[in-house]
């Protein structure tokens, strides 16, 4: 029996056993709708629980003492359910390899909410110089003395990046190597020349801190938050694998928080992928 049929049977039983608590509050509009809602991975929290097989079909939490807690058989059902089935870029064979890897009976891999190595990508709109401009914020979960919190660790904001494009081949604008003998009086040239090439006077590996600039501009009132348009998560928690988690709000059973990208990687590829993720504009 596949999982959807299993859920259907569960909901069917629930449907006929249900006692309406009050005419005003509880009504089961249709059986079909309920099956869809049960099948949906409704929260990121549920994604974690399903990935690890830490809850039943109806979403009741399993704890360590429960016999089905992290049960490998039901876990493989759930793992199959957690992929965006409309995405043909993630090949079936790769999915199978991933499910086998995390479900290895000798060395199973589980996701850990507090385990680090996962980041949130939040696509937003800000008002900037009279226009609406996209900004992508990256957040990570930071452990505190008490509890934890999400913190912003990066921002991608195209106007800033365009501002700092550096001409690495520039052989015209520089401070000559004996500038120090004149106590750098030639700095007048740097700061009075065309401001667009100011960055050419910085060291080769100069990497502007866009988040500092971003916060500065918000504090000065030049950038104003409008809204969030989309959220996704990037997971690097499973050794040698990367996956992306996105929310699918659509008809059918394959909805909610699902794996939208999956890649097998070595440690070098992991660094370059992470860099790629941080430079994403969507």
């Amino acid at each position: 029996m596949n999982l959807i049929k299993w859920i259907s049977l569960f909901v069917y039983i629930q449907f006929y056993l249900r006692v309406e608590a009050s005419a005003q509050t509880i009504v089961a509009p249709t059986l079909e709708d309920e099956v869809v809602l049960y099948a949906s991975t409704k929260q990121v929290n549920q994604f974690f629980r399903r990935f690890n097989n830490e809850e039943s079909i109806d979403g009741s939490r399993y704890y360590e003492k429960d016999s089905l807690y992290r049960n490998p058989i039901t876990r493989s059902f759930f793992l199959n359910l957690l992929f965006d089935k409309e995405n043909s870029f993630v090949k079936e064979d790769l999915k199978r390899q991933f499910i086998q890897y995390v479900g290895d009976p000798e060395k199973p891999v589980f996701l850990d909410f507090h385990g680090g190595n996962w980041i949130a990508q939040v696509n937003t709109i800000f008002y900037w110089e009279g226009k609406e401009v996209n900004a992508t914020l990256f957040l990570k979960l930071q452990e505190e003395k008490i509890g934890s919190k999400w913190v912003i660790n990066r921002v991608c904001f195209r106007p800033f990046e365009e501002f700092f494009v550096k001409d690495t081949q520039d052989t015209v604008h520089f401070l000559h190597p004996l500038s120090h003998e004149l106590e750098f009086m030639n700095l007048y040239k740097v700061f009075h020349d065309d401001k667009n090439i100011l960055q050419n006077y910085t060291e080769r590996n100069y990497d502007p801190d866009y988040l500092a600039l971003f916060l500065f501009e918000v504090k000065k009132g030049n950038l104003r938050f409008k809204t969030v348009t989309d959220v996704k998560f990037h997971f690097f928690q499973v050794d040698n694998w990367y996956f992306e988690l996105s929310q699918f709000n659509r008809a059918g059973y394959n909805t909610g928080w699902l794996i939208s990208d999956l890649q097998k990687l070595d440690s070098k590829e992991k660094d370059s992928l992470l860099k790629n993720v941080y430079n994403r504009y969507e």
Partner: protein
């Protein structure tokens, strides 16, 4: 009946709806009790939304219920609303959200709640409170003079803050866990 039992009954009857515990960590049993309390608050919210949206509810009654609904939420809570057509979130104060619901331009409104709900784990935040999210689903039908005019299904993700509080009854100190609602994200999932 012991004095302590009488105090617990008094607290329940006083509407504080406590989940009484001595320590401040959340065991599975305690989580279960907090979940029930959270669901009770969310069900109250559902009931209030149904009453406020009902065109048969008088203005004065709806205004009274809006006040009651407001009291379920922590100060400054927001409602973030997105639709299938526009996933960007529109922000409303709790009060404005209910007033907009009350003012919808239909002859008749029918609001049903799916029995399904989902409750997240509780996570501790730096101020010592616990935070969780309860997800519920609502079906809305708006009728005009010529019949059913609009219907949608929305997912409502409601933040819950869980806090250990202290009180004294008859000089006896009592610790209890209380639940208050926070920001709510409303996402349209189906529209006809």
């Amino acid at each position: 009946m012991s004095r302590k039992s009488l105090i617990i009954i008094a607290l329940v009857l006083s509407g504080i709806a406590p989940v009484l515990f001595a320590q401040d960590n959340v065991t599975p049993q305690r989580k279960h009790a907090i979940d029930s309390l959270a669901l009770e608050k969310v069900r109250d919210l559902s009931k209030y939304i149904s009453i406020i949206g009902d065109k048969g509810t008088s203005f004065s009654e709806a205004s009274r219920v809006i006040k009651r609904a407001d009291e379920l939420f922590a100060t400054g809570s927001k409602m973030g609303v997105s639709t299938l057509a526009s996933p960007a979130v529109n922000y409303f104060t709790v009060d404005n959200y209910f007033k907009r619901l009350m003012a919808l331009n239909y002859i008749k409104v029918k609001i049903d709640w799916y029995s399904i709900h989902y409750i997240s784990d509780l996570e501790k935040q730096p101020d010592g409170k616990y935070v969780g999210v309860v997800t519920i689903y609502q079906r809305f039908e708006g009728y005009g003079a010529e019949g059913l005019k609009y219907t949608d299904v929305t997912k409502k993700d409601v933040t819950i803050y869980v806090e250990k509080k202290h009180t004294q009854i008859n000089g006896m100190p009592i610790d209890f866990w209380d639940v208050i609602l926070g920001d709510m994200k409303v996402t349209e999932t189906k529209k006809q």
